[in-house]
């Protein structure tokens, strides 16, 4: 396998020599029956390293290597997959034969040769993030985080910090013999603390990362900023009162609260659900699903973001797809199979967790464009409601459209003023309805710090979200205070 965009011949050093273009062509020709609509070989080699600190000590360091090949053939609505971690020619041919069985098509098509296909300009460095900061230096950073957290507040009783990085090398050999290459770095720093005061214990965490080298996280200001955030929120929660229960106006802060869009809108617009008619958004393109002024996009092309990809896992360059424009539903997110079956163009959203998982249409970075209101004015507009600045996770039932997401930093607001922090509460709403109640959009769009992981059908992939401050006139808040 040789190939890079600029035509340099570079063998993937981690792949065995016998996976030559000739052997890949053999496997491809074994895999693909005459009537196939699509097929690919997905070769992956990943390394990852992580280090974690607790009780002031780096207690655990680990590393892992994962490699393998996924063979896939698609015919109409039917797909066959076979995965093997044996990077040997017989195993590859066996996988190719196993994957094609379901197509029940014994005809072969004329053989194709493997040819390097130019990839778009990479959105991130190809360098292994693990190589720019050595492990002893990582240990020093984590120990600094621990000391810094404890110096910020005497109520800090536990500090957990972890640093992880991975480097994934992907080669995709497509049905026509074209071969695409992408090298994907990913790094992450996480800080959580437990605080205790007068017998009450609370916790909070903060994190950040993206597709760049570890050195970016070694900016001390960045690590200290995350640490300060974790301590600030944990201490704040020591004073939190029970959240109210019932329907009320809610203001969401900028950045990670964009998880609202991921759950309420994004999943419901994934092509597989819409092709099968199982989503609450099925067949609704052109309809109003949000208030005027609301524009939501999924953009996999932002350099170095956690949710970005130069090409998706089918080799399609990622796009910026407008999902909702000025309140009107305009697009779905697709992989190749669903795009073909729906008569649409693929949007570059075909993703898989690894070679050992099937491709699914998935989000990349999903966010709402900024409006014109000042964030302060939006909060001040609340007569009585919740101002939610940060969230934990969320979930959606794409069929009924019901979705939830849970606050991790939120305040009770009365007469436009913050009264008190409130304990975490789950917010529940209906995807096709909730954005119709957006009445103010801030001028402060922010993307999240690089912490999102999306789960679907048992597969996890890194994603991003973003939001300006917005006001939703009505959503149900699941506090304990009835």
């Amino acid at each position: 396998m040789r190939l890079t965009a600029d035509g340099m011949h570079e063998r993937l050093s981690t792949m065995p020599n016998h996976l030559s273009p000739e052997n890949l062509a053999r496997a491809l020709n074994t895999l693909v029956p005459a009537g196939a609509d699509d097929a690919d070989l997905y070769l992956q080699h990943s390394t990852s390293e992580s280090m974690s600190l607790e009780e002031g000590r780096v207690k655990h360091v680990s590393a892992s290597t994962q490699q393998g090949v996924g063979a896939r053939v698609v015919k109409g609505e039917v797909a066959g997959h076979a995965y093997t971690d044996r990077l040997e020619v017989p195993a590859l041919l066996e996988a190719a034969r196993a994957a094609r069985t379901i197509t029940d098509d014994r005809q072969h098509r004329p053989p194709v040769a493997i040819a390097v296909s130019p990839a778009p300009t990479a959105l991130y460095t190809a360098a292994n993030p693990a190589q720019d900061i050595a492990m002893p230096e990582r240990r020093v950073l984590l120990e600094h985080v621990d000391r810094f957290a404890r110096s910020l507040d005497p109520r800090v009783v536990q500090v957990f910090a972890s640093l992880s990085c991975s480097h994934t090398d992907v080669h995709i050999v497509r049905i026509d013999g074209s071969e695409l290459h992408d090298v994907r770095p990913l790094v992450r720093l996480n800080v959580s603390v437990v605080v205790e005061h007068n017998g009450r214990r609370e916790s909070a965490s903060a994190g950040g990362g993206g597709r760049f080298g570890l050195s970016r996280l070694f900016d001390k200001q960045q690590a200290e900023h995350l640490t300060r955030e974790a301590v600030r929120i944990a201490v704040l929660n020591l004073e939190a009162i029970a959240a109210p229960a019932g329907s009320m106006p809610v203001v969401l802060g900028p950045g990670w609260p964009g998880i609202l869009l991921h759950e309420a809108i994004g999943h419901g617009l994934e092509g597989d659900f819409n092709r099968k008619g199982t989503s609450a958004f099925s067949g609704r393109i052109g309809e109003r699903v949000a208030a005027p002024g609301v524009t939501v996009v999924d953009d996999g092309t932002i350099p170095e973001r956690r949710g970005s990809l130069t090409i998706d896992d089918e080799g399609t360059p990622t796009h910026r797809t407008v999902l909702i424009e000025d309140g009107i539903l305009t697009g779905y997110l697709t992989d190749k199979q669903n795009a073909r079956l729906m008569g649409m163009a693929p949007t570059g959203n075909g993703r898989r967790e690894s070679y050992a998982h099937p491709v699914l249409p998935r989000m990349t970075n999903t966010f709402m464009l900024a409006g014109s209101h000042r964030p302060d004015d939006i909060v001040a507009s609340l007569e009585r409601g919740i101002y939610a600045v940060n969230f934990g996770g969320g979930q959606v039932d794409i069929t009924s459209g019901q979705f939830v997401f849970t606050t991790s930093e939120a305040y009770l607001v009365e007469h436009g003023r913050i009264v008190a922090p409130v304990k975490e509460a789950t917010l529940i709403g209906n995807g096709p309805e909730v954005l119709k109640h957006v009445s103010m959009i801030g001028n402060d769009l922010a993307l999240d710090p690089g912490v999102g992981t999306c789960g679907k059908d048992g597969q996890s992939v890194p994603v991003g979200v973003g939001l300006p401050t917005i006001r939703i006139d009505r959503i149900t808040v699941g506090g304990a205070q009835a």
Partner: protein, 452 residues
């Protein structure tokens, strides 16, 4: 794979590790998905992997690291050992680190007897039989009611997992575990009135499985009954959790009884051993050797012999789940609950978690309660392990005058797990197995419900 595990430990020792243990797995699995009566996808997987923990002596005590790889070639293993040793040497020494050697391993005779009962030799299903089951399951759902309008498909999966463990003290063993699963999700209604629900079963052997058509009918029945949901009034009320939802509550209990979480002050059950957590009629145990469970094991992730453990007796917390590290720090001995993946540090987890059922049927239980809400689905992650604060999305049915009346959705239930456990009114007699958890319905008084 036992040979590979032994080989890794020997290599680590010969290259300077003070102690080491290794896990090796081989997994062959297949899954078949059908939709609208036709095959939609087949997946076949064949994977192997090894994970190694190495401990090295440092001037300040033992330090350790772990590494894993799916490259089990000779150079791959050598690289793994070198990498693990290099990382261990830059880790901080931990005076409480517990090296693998010296765990209380099962005896050879016990291993033989256990394997005779639990060691699976062959794939538990064939591709053709799995395909037929998936088709039969979906067909039963689609023909159940004219209101069933669509299907997300049925998936039948099966596999054979081989797990081997070796420790530097000479202990080595392995076992094979078969697994099968059949799951279906269907839709009823149309447009903005669509609802979806699912049913599934899983087990180790084909004879453990419910008939495919029963699973199909259950999925259809669950889906149809959710059509045209109402909202309900916000307020305090009794919430009855169906077994599938109750299982998550007892998962939170097990998570809070995790000895490592207790040490890290990240558990709402810290310092509660001996105290009443539930009313006296509640008993919860962890049984690593149960004919129905999928969580059977004879030794845990560090080779410690697993034994049955009573977590809650007469409503009182009897102790924490521990591995050898947590046990040393808590001043006890390991309960054999070390959980280990190929990558990362040891964790702690249950084997088969079993909640002893109550004596009264669910409908009688509902009559006693009178009014409240029956929860059949929970959504979201609003559970705080440190404080026990609980707030989740839910769907289910209204209980009025002792009867299940209308479907309700789009509401939240909130409380604190400490109060919720204490406010348990009753357990149903409907003990239901979900793989490695067996749980009956549970009724909890005084939760806060919020709705539009």
């Amino acid at each position: 794979m036992e040979t590979v595990a032994r080989q890794l430990v020997d290599m680590a020792r010969s290259r300077g590790a003070a102690d080491a243990d290794a896990l090796a797995i081989a997994d062959t699995s297949e899954s078949i998905r059908v939709r609208q009566g036709k095959p939609e996808s087949v997946e076949r997987e064949d994977s192997r992997g090894v994970g190694l923990r190495v401990f090295v002596d440092t001037p300040d005590g033992l330090a350790f690291a772990s590494a894993s790889t799916s490259d089990v070639s000779e150079p791959g293993l050598q690289q793994l050992v070198d990498q693990a040793l290099a990382m261990a040497r830059i880790s901080a020494a931990d005076p409480d680190a517990v090296p693998p050697s010296g765990a209380k391993h099962p005896e050879t005779e016990e291993l033989r007897a256990w394997k005779a009962r639990h060691h699976d030799q062959a794939m538990p299903w064939s591709t053709e039989a799995a395909l037929d089951a998936a088709l039969a399951c979906e067909a039963a759902a689609l023909s159940f009611s004219p209101e069933i309008s669509n299907s997300e498909g049925a998936e039948a999966s099966f596999g054979l997992l081989s797990v081997a463990y070796a420790s530097a003290d000479g202990f080595a063993s392995h076992y094979n575990r078969g697994s099968l699963g059949l799951a279906l999700s269907v839709l009823a209604g149309s447009g903005t009135g669509m609802q979806r629900d699912y049913a599934y079963d899983q087990g180790r052997h084909l004879e453990d499985m419910r008939p495919a058509a029963d699973i199909g009918r259950e999925a259809a029945q669950r889906t149809v009954r959710r059509l045209h949901p109402d909202s309900l009034d916000s307020g305090h009320m009794t919430v009855v959790f169906e077994p599938r939802c109750a299982a998550s509550l007892f998962g939170h209990l097990a998570g809070a009884a995790n000895g490592r979480a207790v040490l890290q002050q990240r558990s709402f059950l810290a310092d509660r051993v001996g105290q009443a957590i539930f009313p006296g009629f509640v008993r919860v145990l962890d049984d690593p050797d149960h004919s129905k469970g999928t969580g059977n094991r004879l030794f845990d992730g560090e080779g410690t012999r697993c034994e049955s453990l009573t977590l809650i007796e007469d409503g009182r917390l009897q102790g924490y789940l521990t591995d050898r590290y947590a046990a040393r720090r808590l001043g006890t001995t390991s309960t054999g609950h070390a959980r280990r993946g190929l990558t990362g540090d040891l964790g702690i987890g249950t084997s088969n978690l079993i909640v002893e059922p109550g004596k009264i049927p669910l409908d009688e239980l509902l009559r006693e309660i009178g009014n409240g809400v029956l929860v059949t689905e929970l959504m979201g992650f609003g559970v705080n392990a440190v404080t026990g604060d609980y707030s989740r999305g839910a769907a289910g049915f209204l209980i009025e005058n002792g009867q299940v009346t209308r479907p309700v959705s789009g509401f939240t239930i909130a409380g604190n797990l400490v109060d919720m456990f204490a406010n348990t009114i009753a357990l149903g007699d409907d003990l239901t197995w979900f793989g490695s958890r067996a749980v009956p319905s549970i009724a909890i008084a005084g939760m806060t419900v919020a709705c539009q």
